[in-house]
């Protein structure tokens, strides 16, 4: 009886409050919502841009509901990621043909409600994210043990992809914070899955520092709301353009701090090499590919697009920090014997070039950054997948363990060469084009800082080539050392891993041979960032 009473009590209280209130509301008659809410239902085609994150969310819920059925989990993920990728391709095509697409959630018109707004930049990033998420499933299926699946590996996997896609799609700055938390929480789940000592250690540092970065972002959002009175990004852009600077510089600095920490820019990058080598390989691969790029994307979307005038104050700082990040990251990689840690430092070094491009603040520079980010999402995922495949095939974890991949798995070795050429930025793989675009952008700018940035990008590429060339010679070409390979990997497992690796290398090669698949879209995205007239107009004319 007591339990019944304790259950019925809150219900009674709620009913006591809500029923009179709703009765009052009903007595008032229909409220006039013209100009505040959409008067008709949202068109079915408007939903397209939400599908890349709605489908993985549904997939994650389904995977959680079916958590007892281990065999189903990866299939649920495969279907949901496949559908999300198809939706992302369709959304990308629509945005390219038609300009920015907008969807008013809950029928609330901008600037009142949360808005999903996807322009060329967002659509491109969403497409690459779903593609990498889909391809990564091959490795995840082969490498994830039953225990992890039971603890919801594929739920977290899909939630993280949904969170990243959501962050790339939203047009509301507080909603951006919420998507940050969605993928942050799922990444917490992924990084400690397995609960070994090394993962707990890495998880503590990853968790705390990312939480602080996200909270700093929230502070900036709160202060920006206090100054502008709106959370809709297009609306904020308009209000800021009509307002004298003043405290905005402080808010802008907070945004730069938060996103630079997320993107692992020197000197805020220390959490990344401390944690990225600890989780399962495919988790590291997705973190390396996707999570830092969300920081880069937000830096472009919020700081470049919204704070035009204030951003100029940070231009020089970003070029210098980007150069430092690139060179120091590459030098850090040179000092590592552990292959996963080496790969983590290379993630940091790649961020440097993207930050330099943002620092240039021109269409050419931002185009370079966007193309670099697209390349980097695929290449960094591929690099971790390569390290993991090698570990599974030959047992080699560090440069001191001997080699033997070439003798044991010549095909994997060939794929590895592709990844290495792509990460080092050598043609015919995709790493070459963004570096070319960035150096070209530096020539167009032509001042001393631009020269510094271009020199940083090129020096980073040279050191990266040395790092990876050495790793190639020591772990692939060198005959096997005295490390015993792990208990005979089954054919299925190896083919799953190599399948993911092969698809990623094909993507890298495809983008290297046909850069026109990405560069025009990136250019449209960059122009939209510096002059968001069309975006603003599309957002504010929803009705």
């Amino acid at each position: 009886m007591a339990t019944f009473r304790s259950r019925i009590f809150p219900v009674a209280v709620l009913a006591g409050v809500l029923l009179p209130a709703s009765a009052l509301a009903a007595g008032e008659g229909e409220l006039d919502t013209t100009g505040v809410m959409l008067q008709s239902a949202t068109g079915a085609s408007d939903w397209l841009i939400t599908l890349p994150f709605v489908i993985p969310l549904i997939g994650a819920a389904l995977a959680l509901a079916l958590r007892g059925r281990i065999g189903f989990q990866s299939w649920v993920a495969l279907v949901s990621m496949g559908l999300a990728t198809i939706a992302a391709v369709a959304a990308f095509a629509k945005v390219l043909a038609d300009g920015p697409q907008v969807m008013a959630v809950g029928n609330w018109l901008p600037p009142f409600g949360i808005l999903i707004a996807v322009d060329a930049l967002g659509a491109l990033f969403v497409l690459i994210t779903t593609l990498v998420g889909l391809v990564g499933l091959g490795y995840a299926r082969a490498d994830t043990d039953e225990g992890s699946v039971q603890y919801g590996f594929f739920t977290f996997y899909q939630l993280m992809i949904a969170g990243v896609c959501g962050a790339f799609s939203t047009g509301d700055i507080f909603n951006l914070y919420v998507w940050f938390e969605v993928f942050l929480l799922s990444s917490f789940g992924l990084i400690v899955m397995g609960s070994t000592a090394i993962q707990l250690d890495g998880g503590v540092k990853y968790g705390l520092l990312n939480l602080v970065a996200t909270t700093v972002f929230l502070i900036a959002v709160g202060l920006l709301y206090g100054l502008t009175g709106t959370l809709n990004m297009a609306d904020i852009g308009q209000v800021l353009a009509a307002r004298p600077s003043g405290p905005l510089l402080t808010v802008c600095a907070l945004f730069v701090l938060a996103f630079a920490m997320k993107a692992a820019v020197f000197p805020l990058h220390f959490w990344l090499p401390a944690s990225y080598h600890t989780p399962a390989v495919i988790v590291s691969a997705l973190f390396a590919g996707l999570l830092t790029k969300v920081g880069i994307y937000s830096l472009m979307r919020v700081v470049v697009m919204l704070f035009g005038a204030e951003f100029d104050h940070f231009s020089a700082l970003l070029i210098v920090l980007g150069t430092a990040t690139g060179v120091l990251g590459a030098l850090g990689a040179l000092a590592q014997a552990d292959l996963r840690r080496m790969a983590a430092f290379l993630v940091v070094s790649g961020i440097g070039a993207m930050i330099v491009g943002i620092g240039f603040g021109t269409v050419a520079g931002l185009t370079g950054t966007i193309v670099y980010a697209v390349h980097s999402i695929i290449a960094m995922t591929a690099l971790f997948v390569l390290v993991g495949t090698m570990e599974g095939a030959t047992g080699v974890r560090t440069l001191n363990d001997g080699g033997g991949l070439y003798t044991a798995f010549p095909f994997a070795a060939a794929l590895g060469l592709g990844v290495i050429l792509a990460v080092a930025g050598l043609p015919p793989f995709s790493g070459f084009w963004p570096k070319f675009l960035l150096v070209d952008a530096a020539f167009q700018r032509g001042d001393a800082l631009a020269v510094l940035g271009a020199a940083g990008v090129l020096l980073t590429a040279v050191i990266t080539t040395i790092v990876l060339g050495r790793a190639w010679v020591l772990t692939v070409l060198r005959p096997a050392g005295d490390v015993t390979p792990p208990a005979a990997a089954s054919g299925d497992e190896m083919s799953g891993k190599m399948g993911t690796l092969a698809l990623l290398v094909m993507l890298l090669l495809g983008l290297g041979l046909f850069p026109s698949l990405v560069i025009p879209a990136a250019e449209v995205g960059a122009e939209g960032l510096l002059d968001p007239v069309l975006y603003t107009q599309r957002v504010l004319s929803v009705q």
């Binding site: 919420v178 090394i198 250690d201 000092a335």
Partner: protein, 122 residues
């Protein structure tokens, strides 16, 4: 009123940053918790402090309503920061049990103090 709130928020930030700079996990976590509350108060103050009727219900009585948006934002932020705090608390506990220390300077499993250098020759 805003001035008082600003002072309170500043105090919260100061205390939380002081605690987060500590090397002991539990103090860092307390700092994180206060940090989250400081942000909530920041948003609350940024939404302007007014003497007004509760939102939604005030539409029925005709009184000037308070700004409901900061309240909605804070509610979201509280839920998120609480769940993350709960996760980090458990993580800190497990890390303490497994690694045998709550001093983050002594947590050197993932990053050894003197790692093996890479080979110097072929």
């Amino acid at each position: 009123m805003e001035v008082v709130m600003c002072a309170v928020v500043a105090l919260f930030y100061a205390a939380s940053i002081y605690l987060m700079l500590s090397r002991h996990m539990i103090r860092i976590l307390l700092g994180v918790s206060i940090f989250g509350n400081a942000v909530n108060l920041t948003i609350f103050t940024a939404g302007r402090l007014t003497e007004a009727a509760p939102p939604v219900l005030s539409a029925l009585t005709g009184a000037e309503p308070a700004n409901p948006l900061p309240q909605a934002l804070i509610l979201t932020a509280i839920v998120i920061s609480f769940s993350i705090f709960a996760f980090l608390l458990v993580l800190g506990m497990r890390a303490y049990q497994t690694l045998g220390t709550d001093n983050v300077h002594r947590m050197r499993t993932a990053e050894a103090n003197s790692p093996m250098p890479p080979p110097m020759g072929y």
